[in-house]
Symmetry: C2
Subunit: 274 residues, 2 copies
């Protein structure tokens, strides 16, 4: 398992300061001008989960992409700012040294972890009725970026446009996804997959304008046991925008496992140009 | 304007430390065992907006409610951790002194502000066709809490349950809302109204179990000019849960102005018991 590229990308080495870790960017998850945002979100969460004072399991994660991460070393910190009886509040930061040796903030974030207890539960959004992944072709939405080879993606709806004719009319995608090679699901993998959807503006406009995620929030509905039950199966992801307005659009997404259980809901706000 | 209880609740006094302010909780926005979460979110955003180094307008705000704020003085800080050409990344914290005089963290948060530019824009979610607010009765969803008197609320769907019989079957509310007395809309008021919805578990179950917001994220689609155009008119708010699972549920919400423009989308994750 530890030889999986995902686990290699998430190797964080403790430093003398509690909650402060050293890591290195991963060639395997490289995007166009920096790492895949999902791997960076996963690294932020890993720093929390690796902390010796961790209480409970992830409930909420927010990361803000503050600067363009460059290839090489980074420092990530996860500090528990408040620990209650059953919840814990984390502040996260990722920095890289600039050419003058000064730490530049590349990511800010927060997380909440909690001890979960069994209660009355109900999924309010049903998984859409879609064909099974095995019968669908594997597709790489983009070419020329490395990280998409780390995922097996099978689109049901809203695939990557093949004609950039400005004639798009919808922003929703549905796709089956899993790590490639397959890997048992855990919180970090789920956080990464929350960012797997290509920019909604590409689909809505059928126009490839510059775009990049500014902030991402993930709510974890599943606990570790439910993630383990999902094994290395596919997840169904659904994403759509609610508004595109003057340089920013939002994306509202859901991730179900093959059994139809809603594992996470996630939102992001994305910069776009033109 | 400055005599409005909302503005009074948001008075922050600068200290010698840049971005660090002193404030006091407001009796006018008191909830059951602490301030209305929306007023606390608004205070967090106010700290950002009041900073002399502010760049642009709010795009994203995340606040995590870490502890039970008590009546009295608090300190709120908003620090710009990274400033780019057109975006700025903020880390927010609100503390109160405990009986030993030590600062306790009550809220963690982040925000992103940005210079907005005019681009191609499109609302992907239309405002639901609902009756106008003037023809609907004003309702107070809860009794015994002060802050609800600071809002004029008119429910279209999913009003506060009148029978706690455990027979609920849906989690969606739609209501018209505005400040009472009326007040021109701005970013802080919008952030507060993002938290106006009573806990979805009350409605879904028709059961009043302990519940409280843990984390709240607001994406601002409107700029200051669009908010000003909304004036002191009503906003239509819509909120629903996507999943209730083992102690936490999410809430996905939209806020439109009377003209049908989507001003903000907002999500939260909420603790519940039983």
């Amino acid at each position: 398992m530890n030889n999986h590229p995902f686990d290699q990308a998430l190797v964080l080495t403790p430093t003398d300061a509690p909650g402060v870790y050293q890591g290195n960017t991963s060639v395997a998850y490289w995007n166009m001008v920096g790492p895949f945002g999902g791997i960076t979100a996963a690294i932020a969460l890993k720093a929390v989960l690796q902390h010796p004072a961790l209480l409970g399991q992830p409930i909420a994660l927010t990361v803000n992409f503050a600067g363009a991460i460059v290839a090489g070393a980074f420092t990530v910190s996860a500090i528990p700012r408040r620990t209650n009886r059953s919840t814990q509040h984390w502040v996260i930061e990722l920095t890289q040294l600039d050419q003058a040796g000064l730490a530049e903030v590349m990511l800010t974030g927060t997380a909440v972890t909690a001890a979960r207890r069994s209660t009355w539960s109900s999924d309010e959004i049903s998984m859409p009725a879609v064909p099974r992944p095995e019968g669908l072709p594997e597709e790489k939405p983009m070419t020329g970026v490395e990280w998409i080879h780390r995922y097996d993606m099978r689109f049901v709806q809203g695939a990557f446009p093949t004609e950039w004719n400005g004639q798009g009319d919808a922003s929703q995608s549905q796709l089956w996804m899993r790590d490639a090679p397959a890997r048992c699901l855990d919180f970090c993998a789920l956080a990464a997959m929350a960012d797997i959807f290509f920019p909604r503006v590409y689909l809505r406009r059928a126009l490839r304008v510059p775009a990049g995620t500014v902030a991402l929030t993930v709510y974890f509905h599943a606990d570790a046991a439910q993630l383990a039950e999902s094994g290395s199966g596919y997840l169904l992801g659904q994403a759509r925008a609610q508004a595109f307005r003057n340089g920013f659009f939002d994306q509202s997404s859901q991730l179900w496992n093959e059994a139809g259980q809603l594992l996470a809901t996630t939102n992001q706000i994305v910069y776009y140009k033109e």
